[in-house]
C-alpha cells in the first residue's frame, strides 16, 4: 500500500507528460483535418522529399555513430588502463562539456566554423586557404560526434572495466599475442557496451533537428527538420505526427534488437 502511494507522483507525471502526449501524437497521426481516420500521414513517408530526409538522417547518424565508435573504443581502453587518479581526471574532462547547455555547445561550433568564424580568421592570418565547412553534411556530423561521443565512451568503458584482468592474462598465458587477445577476448566481451553505445548515439542523432538547423543552415533537411517544420511552420500537426510515428517505429525496432543482445542492461545503468 505504502509503496503504491510512493509511486503515485511518478505515475501522475508519466501519465501527464508521456502517455497523454503519445496518445495525442497517435490521434493526430491517424486522422486528417476533418478528424476522420486515415493512414495518409503514415504513408506520406514514401513521398520523395520525406524519403530523402529520412535517408539523409539515417546516413549522417550512421556515419556519426561509426566515427563515435572508432574514437570511443580506444579512448575507453585508455581510461581503463590508466591509474585511478588519472582516470577520474580524464572522465571529468569528458563529462565537463556535458554540463554546458547543448544549444550553447552547438552554437560554439557555429562560431568556430562560420565563413568569417574563428578557424577561418586564424587560417587567413597565417595565409592558408579558408575552409568551407559550415552548412555542409560534414558540419552536422561534426556536431553530432561532438555532442554524442560521451554516450558512446561511457557504456564501453563500463564493460571494459568489468573484465577480469586475469581473463586477459589467461588468454596471453595460453599463447595469444596482444592482437589475438583483443580480437578473441576483449572485443567479444565488450559487445554489450558497444550495442548500448550505438543505440545511445544513433537514436538522438537520427532525430536531431537542432544540430542540423544550426550547423547545416537550411540547406540540409533531415527527417527531424521536416517534422519540426510541419509543427512549427506549416502547422500540419497531422502530417508531423504521422512522420513521428514512423520514426518512432524505426527507433523501437532498433531498441528491440539491442535489448535482445544487451543482456547486462548497460544502457539502463546510465
Amino acid at each position: 500500500m505504502n509503496k503504491k502511494l510512493l509511486s503515485a507522483p511518478f505515475l501522475f507525471w508519466s501519465g501527464l507528460f508521456i502517455i497523454v502526449p503519445l496518445l495525442m501524437v497517435f490521434y493526430y497521426g491517424l486522422t486528417d483535418k476533418t478528424g476522420a481516420f486515415t493512414f495518409e500521414n503514415i504513408a506520406a513517408i514514401s513521398s520523395p522529399e520525406h524519403l530523402k530526409a529520412l535517408w539523409e538522417a539515417v546516413k549522417l547518424s550512421v556515419l556519426s555513430t561509426i566515427i563515435c565508435l572508432i574514437l570511443a573504443y580506444p579512448l575507453a581502453m585508455i581510461l581503463c588502463k590508466s591509474g585511478s587518479n588519472k582516470t577520474s581526471f580524464m572522465v571529468l574532462i569528458f563529462i565537463l562539456p556535458m554540463w554546458m547547455n547543448f544549444l550553447l555547445r552547438t552554437f560554439a561550433w557555429l562560431t568556430l566554423l562560420e565563413k568569417t568564424g574563428v578557424i577561418n580568421t586564424l587560417l587567413k592570418l597565417v595565409g592558408l586557404p579558408t575552409l568551407n565547412i559550415i552548412n555542409t553534411p560534414g558540419a552536422i556530423v561534426l556536431g553530432m560526434v561532438y555532442n554524442f561521443l560521451p554516450f558512446m565512451v561511457l557504456p564501453i568503458y563500463n564493460v571494459l572495466i568489468k573484465i577480469d584482468k586475469n581473463v586477459i592474462n589467461a588468454a596471453r598465458d595460453l599463447g595469444a599475442n596482444p592482437f589475438q587477445t583483443f580480437m578473441k577476448i576483449t572485443l567479444p566481451l565488450s559487445v554489450p557496451g558497444i550495442i548500448s553505445g550505438i543505440t545511445m548515439v544513433f537514436v538522438p542523432a537520427l532525430t536531431t533537428f537542432i544540430i542540423s538547423t544550426i550547423l547545416g543552415g537550411s540547406k540540409i533537411l533531415l527527417i527531424g527538420n521536416v517534422i519540426e517544420q510541419e509543427f512549427t511552420q506549416t502547422g500540419n500537426w497531422h502530417l508531423g505526427s504521422g512522420l513521428s510515428i514512423v520514426l518512432m517505429m524505426f527507433i523501437i525496432f532498433n531498441m528491440v534488437i539491442s535489448a535482445v543482445t544487451d543482456k547486462d542492461g548497460e544502457a539502463q545503468a546510465l
Binding site: 581473463v167 592474462n169 589467461a170 596471453r172 598465458d173 595460453l174 595469444a176 566481451l189
Partner: protein, 361 residues
C-alpha cells in the same frame, strides 16, 4: 637428483617503493610439486606472476630449462597458469575454452577434438563440451581451468590459490585430484597458497615465505617437524614457541626447568627458541605413582575438537597448548612430559625486527 627446470636468481621486485621480493633465489626441479606458502603480502603471488610473465622483476633473472626468459612475453613461455577465480572465457562454451590455446597454435580440428575429450575425461567432466562456464559450479569451473591449461602440454603448471574460492569438502577432494593429475601428467607444479594444510597434503617441497624472504625450504615433514625459525613453526600448524637457553649439547633450560633434548652444536648457554607441537606434550595423572613427568601444571581450558581434546595447561608461568585424546577437567593438577626428540631447538632471529615480524603473524 633430477635437474632444475626453473631457476630464479636474485629476483627483486617492488611496487610503489614497497619491496615485495628481496633477492629471492630458488630452483624448481623437474616433475616436482613445489608449494609457495605464506601469509598474504609475502610475495608468493608476485613470484608466480614473474614466472608466468605478467610481471618483470626489477633485478635478477628467470631461467627456464636453462634459457633466460626474464623478459619473454607470457604467450611465448612453455608454461601455463591456473588463475585464482578460474578466469574462464565466459563468452565461450567449455569446448571453446579448452580449445583456445590449441587454436592459437593452429592445431588440426581432429587433434583439438581429441585433446578436449582427453582433458575433460582427466578432470571427470565428460560430456560438458557444450555447457557455458556460468552454468558450472565453482569446483567444476576450476577443473575446466585446469583442463584448459594442461591441453597445451606445458612443462610447468602454475597454480595461483586455485582452491581458494571452494568450500572445505570440495577443497579436500580437489587436493587429491590435483595430486592424481600431477602423477598422471608427469609435469612440474608450482602451487601458491596461504593454507598450510593444503601445502602439507600435496607438496614434494614447501617454500615458506614471509615479507619477501624465503624462510625455509624443505619437505612437508621437515617443515613441520624441524621448523627453522619461530615464524615457520607458528605458521605451519599450532605450536608452543618458548624462549629458552641451550645449557649444553642435548640439554635445554625451558622456563627454569632443564629438559633433555637431542640437538647439538648450539654452544653452551645460548639463547634459543624451542618449539613443541601440542600433540607432543604428554599429560600424566599426578595420582599415578609410576607417572614420569618433568614439570607440574594446572589445566585451565578444555575444548573438545572431535579427534582430540585441546587443553591449555598453566605450568612455570606459560600456557602450554596440548592436544590429547585423553581429557583432564579444568582445575586438575597434571604432570607434563615431553620426549627429548619432540623438542625442536631453533636459533633466535638475529635482529629484534625479524623477531617482531615472525611472532606477530
Amino acid at each position: 637428483m633430477k635437474k632444475a627446470l626453473v631457476n630464479l636468481e636474485h629476483i627483486s621486485k617492488s611496487y610503489d617503493g614497497q619491496l615485495i621480493l628481496d633477492d629471492l633465489n630458488l630452483y624448481i626441479r623437474e616433475n616436482e610439486f613445489l608449494t609457495l606458502l605464506g601469509p598474504s603480502g609475502c610475495g608468493k603471488t608476485t613470484t608466480l606472476r614473474i614466472l608466468g610473465g605478467f610481471e618483470t622483476p626489477d633485478a635478477g633473472k628467470v631461467y627456464f630449462d636453462g634459457v633466460d626468459i626474464t623478459h619473454l612475453q607470457p604467450n611465448k613461455r612453455q608454461l601455463n597458469t591456473v588463475f585464482q577465480k578460474y578466469a574462464l572465457f565466459t563468452h565461450m562454451n567449455i569446448a571453446e575454452n579448452i580449445a583456445f590455446g590449441l587454436k592459437i597454435k593452429n592445431k588440426s580440428k581432429a587433434y583439438i577434438d581429441d585433446k578436449i575429450k582427453y582433458a575433460l575425461k582427466l578432470v571427470n567432466l565428460d560430456g560438458y563440451e557444450k555447457r557455458m562456464p556460468d552454468s558450472l559450479s565453482g569446483g567444476q569451473q576450476q577443473r575446466i581451468a585446469i583442463a584448459r591449461a594442461i591441453v597445451n602440454e606445458p612443462k610447468l603448471l602454475l597454480l595461483d590459490e586455485p582452491l581458494g574460492a571452494l568450500d572445505l569438502k570440495l577443497r579436500q577432494d580437489m587436493q587429491y585430484e590435483l595430486i592424481r593429475l600431477k602423477n598422471e601428467l608427469g609435469i612440474t607444479f608450482i602451487y601458491v597458497t596461504h593454507d598450510q594444510e593444503e601445502a602439507l597434503t600435496m607438496s614434494d617441497t614447501i617454500v615458506v615465505m614471509n615479507q619477501g624472504y624465503i624462510q625455509q625450504i624443505g619437505t612437508p615433514e621437515m617443515i613441520y617437524n624441524e621448523p627453522e625459525n619461530a615464524f615457520v613453526a607458528d605458521f605451519i600448524g599450532e605450536s608452543n614457541i618458548i624462549s629458552a637457553t641451550m645449557i649444553q649439547d642435548r640439554l635445554v633450560e625451558i622456563l627454569g626447568t632443564k629438559f633433555a633434548c637431542v640437538d647439538e652444536g648450539f654452544g653452551n648457554n645460548t639463547p634459543v627458541d624451542v618449539v613443541i607441537r601440542p600433540e607432543d606434550v604428554e599429560l600424566v595423572d599426578l595420582a599415578d605413582a609410576n607417572a614420569k613427568y618433568i614439570i607440574e601444571g594446572t589445566v585451565t581450558h578444555v575444548i573438545f575438537k572431535g579427534v582430540h581434546y585441546e587443553m591449555e595447561v598453566m605450568a612455570n608461568g606459560f600456557e602450554w597448548l596440548v592436544h590429547s585424546t585423553g581429557m583432564f577437567p579444568v582445575g586438575t593438577k597434571v604432570g607434563i612430559h615431553v620426549d627429548p626428540f619432540n623438542i625442536q631447538i631453533m636459533n633466535k632471529p638475529e635482529s629484534e625486527d625479524e623477531e617482531a615480524v615472525g611472532v606477530n603473524e
